[in-house]
Every structure is written in structure tokens, then in C-alpha cells.
């Protein structure tokens, strides 16, 4: 009796990791093509979708690794993305009950909040912007980017449901 569920769980986990890898690849391979100040953050989507499947500690570790990758690409704010992504992944894993509802709108809202919080924390800790630019970034471009990211997340969740369907860890 334990065979089939274990096989199904492993296949689901495999699909989840494939989906995660595709989103990470999209973050580095597709995002530069889109350009613009309000861009889609595939890495935040990947972290949020993965965090609901794993334990909070592992989610934090995964977020820390993803943040490290981002910081390695932008050494000027080295550590900021690690810290913020760790917090978001851990928080997403703790609040995974929200995803249990498997509601598309709630998923979009959660991605929106996760991306916006990430931008707020990243910009605040990184310290690259000040004054009006900081306000414009946090109140205009970050919400736009978060909304775009949420829309893409909803599309992905709808179109590639086997890859990104939430499952209890």
C-alpha cells in the first residue's frame, strides 16, 4: 500500500523540481529578453511555488541559495537578496495553508505580496535608491512588477498545473 503513494509523491516532487528549474532558467534566460522596468520575477515565482511543497527550514535554505545566486549576479548588494529571499521563502512555507485552498486568485495575491515584499526588502537593504526615486520604485515600479509577476504566476499555474500544483510536504 505504501508503494503507489511513494511513487506518486516522488513523481510529483520530480515534476516540482523540474518546474522550479524551468522557472530559474526562465529568470535568467527569458527575463533579459523582456526588459523594461516592470519585469516578471520568475525566481520569486519559483521560490514561492517550491516553498509550499517543502518544510520551512528547507524553504529558507532554498531561498537563501536563490538569493545567493541573485547576489552573485549583483555583487553591489551582496547578501541583501539572500536575506530577503530567505525570509520570503520561510514565510511562504509557513503560510502554505493559504495555498491549500488551491485558489487561483489567492495564489496571485500571494505572489503579488511576495514579490512586492521582496522588492521592498531588497531595495531597502541594498540602499541603491533614495528620496523620490525610492518612493517611485517602491510605490510604482515594484507594484507593477509584482502585478505582472502575479499574472504570469496565475498563467503558469493554470497552464502547467501538473508542474506547479501545490502539494502537502
Amino acid at each position: 500500500m505504501r508503494g503507489p503513494p511513494t511513487t506518486s509523491s516522488a513523481a510529483s516532487a520530480l515534476r516540482a523540481w523540474i518546474g522550479f528549474a524551468l522557472l530559474v532558467a526562465a529568470h535568467f534566460g527569458v527575463r533579459p529578453l523582456l526588459g523594461g522596468r516592470a519585469s516578471v520575477d520568475f525566481l520569486v515565482i519559483a521560490i514561492l511555488f517550491a516553498a509550499v511543497r517543502i518544510r520551512p527550514g528547507l524553504a529558507a535554505l532554498l531561498g537563501c541559495a536563490a538569493g545567493l545566486a541573485l547576489d552573485a549576479m549583483a555583487p553591489g548588494t551582496f547578501g541583501a537578496a539572500m536575506l530577503v529571499m530567505t525570509a520570503i521563502a520561510f514565510g511562504a512555507s509557513w503560510t502554505k495553508a493559504v495555498f491549500f485552498a488551491d485558489h487561483v486568485a489567492l495564489t496571485g495575491l500571494f505572489v503579488f505580496l511576495g514579490k512586492w515584499i521582496f522588492d521592498i526588502g531588497y531595495v531597502s537593504i541594498g540602499g541603491g535608491l533614495r528620496g523620490v526615486d525610492l518612493v517611485v520604485q517602491l510605490l510604482l515600479w515594484s507594484p507593477l512588477s509584482a502585478a505582472l509577476t502575479a499574472v504570469v504566476a496565475i498563467i503558469l499555474l493554470t497552464a502547467f498545473r501538473p508542474l506547479y500544483r501545490p502539494q502537502v510536504a
Partner: protein, 382 residues
């Protein structure tokens, strides 16, 4: 909250604390060490992602460059398309400058203001008005010929009708002055609407295709010799006693750009010789006619000389009692025109008495005519 999370609380908390500590450490690391670590990560674990990002950036740059190339090509294509138009405009302006130099004075150069009315096809709005001396009924011309006539004038602008306007009419003639008529727009359909008609041409005056039609100067609006159009052919009309010809306008609608408005003073003085094509063709026609008539002219010359010699002899007879001036006969070629001969006779009649009817005491001269000198007057021997 799921049981697995609660059960592994310490493990999760430991990982989170470790991650946060690592992050804070990364934040406070010296810059040199941060750069070293980042470089090492990019060169090892992240190298595929770095390559992927680099390739994506290159693709995006190529797309942007392609867009720039397409935009540049579009600009170049637009400029290439506009180049012939600019060249044509330059040619038009140069020809207009030539016309201005031939007119010398008595005109106003005008630009067209884009039309706003419903009759925009047949009317022009000019950027000159009464302040520049423009008056109603002033002819509007280009280097190609007649465009139309000023119809109304404001202080700074004026409105003109073109030859295509239904109200347009001009007295016209062929350059050899054989055919006279009235030119009006051809009220046909389609492209024929942009042609002209030369109406009321006497039936005996037959015009060939390509004959240049110019203004005749009859009337008070258009001076003589402004090109109007060329004959395309005769068209059938109910009028059996007159001919109607279809004309191709000298000034095509698309070529109407900068124009000149002839002021009344200049129009009154005439524009003969201003349009070179008219003058040259007229001169050529006269030269050909003169060459062809040389024999007849010689015969007429001899006959005229003999007649005047007889008249001179008769005048000499009567000069004994009359000291009136007697003009010598004219024998120069240009004085053989009918009006010159008529004028000479008129002068003679006005200044001398008619000789008596008595027979002359000296027989008429039968030899060659006296020396040619139209401007020499001689007195009779006293």
C-alpha cells in the same frame, strides 16, 4: 499548521537562523571578499545561468539593434522617396526665378496655403493680399503658364480660382494668331475634368495637335502671350460654325506650387517675351514664313518701289509751288508691313496737297528705286 512543520520546528528554525546569519555575514563582508565570492560563484555553480543570461542579453541587444536598423532603413527610404520631390521643387523654384527675372517688376511671389474649403480642387489660397498690392482679377501665373485669377482679396491673403474652376474663362489664340477663341474648363468626368476647352474657334481655323495656345490679351484681365495649354484634338459639338478643341493645360494641377501674381500695372504693360517658349516659337514661325515668302516679297518690293517712284515724280512736279516735306519710299524689309505702308501713305496725305490732275511735266521714272533709307526726309528742289 501541518504536523510535519511543528515536528521539525527546531530543524527549520536552525536552518532559518543559519541562513539569516549567512546573509548578514554576506552583507557585512568586506567588499573585496564579496567580489571574490561572487566571482567564484559565477564562475562555477552559476556559470550556466550566467551564460544563459548573457545569451539572452545578446539576443535582446540584437533585437534592439535590428529595430534600430529597421528604423534607420525606414528613415532612409522616406528620404529617398522625398528626394525626387525636393528635386522637382528645386526645378520649379529655379524656373520661377527665371520668370521673375524676365518679368523684372510688377508681380508678387506667393505661396499656397493649404486649402480648407469644399472647392479646394479649383481654388487657391495665397499668402499675399491687399497689403502686397494684390487686387481682384490679378492673373496668377507660374513659369509654365497661366494658373488662374485672383477672385477675392483680404489684407494678408487672397483667394484665386484656377483654370479648372467652372467660372474660369480667358480669351485665347494660337501663337500664329490664326485661331482665336475662349478657353474654359472641360467639364468632363474623371481625369478629363482636368482639361481645358478652346471654344468658338472660327471654322476656317484648324489647329494641329500640340499647337500652343496663349492668352490673346483681349479683355482686361489676362495680358497677351501667357501660355494656357496645348491642343490635344478637336471635339465634336453641336456648333457647326465653330470648332472646339481640347487642351492640355500648361500648368498641371500637381505642379501648382509657388506662383506669381501679376499686379495690374504689369498686366497693363503686357508680358510679351516673358515666356520664352512663346516668343521663340513665334519667332521661329515668322522666320519660316519669311523664308518661304522671299520670292513673293521680292516681287512685291519691286512693284512697290515702282509705284512709289511714280508718286515721287508726281510730288516733285508739284513741289515747285509747295515746299512740303516728301518722305522717301520705304524699302526695308521690315517696313514692308501693311501697317507701315499705310502709315506712310497717311502721312503723305496729311502733309502734302494732292497734286493737280494735269499731266506731269517730267515723265515717270522707270529706273531703279532711290536709295533705301526710311529715316531720311528730303526737300524738293526749290
Amino acid at each position: 499548521m501541518p504536523r510535519s512543520v511543528r515536528g521539525g520546528g527546531r530543524f527549520d528554525t536552525g536552518l532559518v537562523v543559519a541562513c539569516i546569519a549567512l546573509s548578514v555575514f554576506a552583507l557585512v563582508m568586506p567588499r573585496r571578499i564579496r567580489d571574490t565570492v561572487a566571482t567564484a560563484i559565477r564562475g562555477t555553480a552559476l556559470s550556466p545561468l550566467v551564460a544563459l543570461e548573457s545569451r539572452a542579453s545578446t539576443v535582446r541587444a540584437a533585437i534592439a539593434a535590428r529595430n534600430d536598423v529597421l528604423v534607420a532603413r525606414g528613415v532612409v527610404a522616406t528620404q529617398a522617396l522625398a528626394a525626387p520631390g525636393i528635386a522637382d521643387e528645386n526645378v520649379t523654384l529655379r524656373r520661377l526665378l527665371g520668370l521673375s527675372s524676365r518679368l523684372a517688376d510688377g508681380f508678387v511671389a506667393a505661396e499656397l496655403i493649404p486649402a480648407r474649403g469644399v472647392e479646394s480642387d479649383f481654388t487657391l489660397t495665397l499668402n499675399v493680399g491687399a497689403s502686397a498690392g494684390v487686387l481682384p482679377f490679378s492673373p496668377v501665373v507660374t513659369a509654365d503658364g497661366l494658373v488662374g485669377m485672383v477672385q477675392s482679396v483680404d489684407a494678408m491673403t487672397s483667394f484665386a480660382i484656377t483654370w479648372a474652376h467652372p467660372d474660369f474663362a480667358v480669351s485665347a489664340m494660337s501663337t500664329d494668331e490664326v485661331a482665336f477663341g475662349i478657353v474654359k474648363p472641360h467639364l468632363g468626368d474623371g481625369a478629363e475634368r482636368w482639361l481645358l476647352e478652346l471654344r468658338s474657334v472660327p471654322f476656317r481655323a484648324k489647329l494641329d495637335t500640340g499647337t500652343l495656345i496663349v492668352s490673346s490679351g483681349l479683355g482686361a484681365t489676362y495680358p497677351r502671350s501667357i501660355p494656357i495649354g496645348t491642343v490635344l484634338g478637336e471635339i465634336a459639338t453641336p456648333e457647326k460654325w465653330a470648332r472646339t478643341y481640347l487642351l492640355k493645360p500648361s500648368v498641371l494641377p500637381a505642379a501648382i506650387g509657388p506662383v506669381l501674381v501679376l499686379l495690374p500695372s504689369r498686366a497693363a504693360r503686357g508680358v510679351n517675351g516673358v515666356w520664352v517658349s512663346v516668343t521663340s516659337s513665334d519667332s521661329a514661325a515668322r522666320a519660316i514664313a519669311a523664308a518661304g515668302d522671299s520670292l513673293a516679297r521680292k516681287a512685291a518690293l519691286d512693284e512697290l518701289s515702282a509705284r512709289r517712284a511714280a508718286l515721287d515724280s508726281a510730288s516733285a512736279d508739284s513741289a515747285g509751288t509747295d515746299s512740303a516735306l516728301v518722305r522717301t519710299p520705304l524699302s526695308r524689309a521690315d517696313s514692308l508691313r501693311a501697317d507701315s505702308v499705310r502709315r506712310a501713305r497717311a502721312v503723305r496725305a496729311d502733309t502734302t496737297r494732292r497734286p493737280p490732275t494735269t499731266p506731269p511735266s517730267v515723265p515717270p521714272r522707270t529706273g531703279p528705286p532711290p536709295p533705301d533709307d526710311a529715316n531720311v526726309y528730303r526737300t524738293s528742289p526749290s
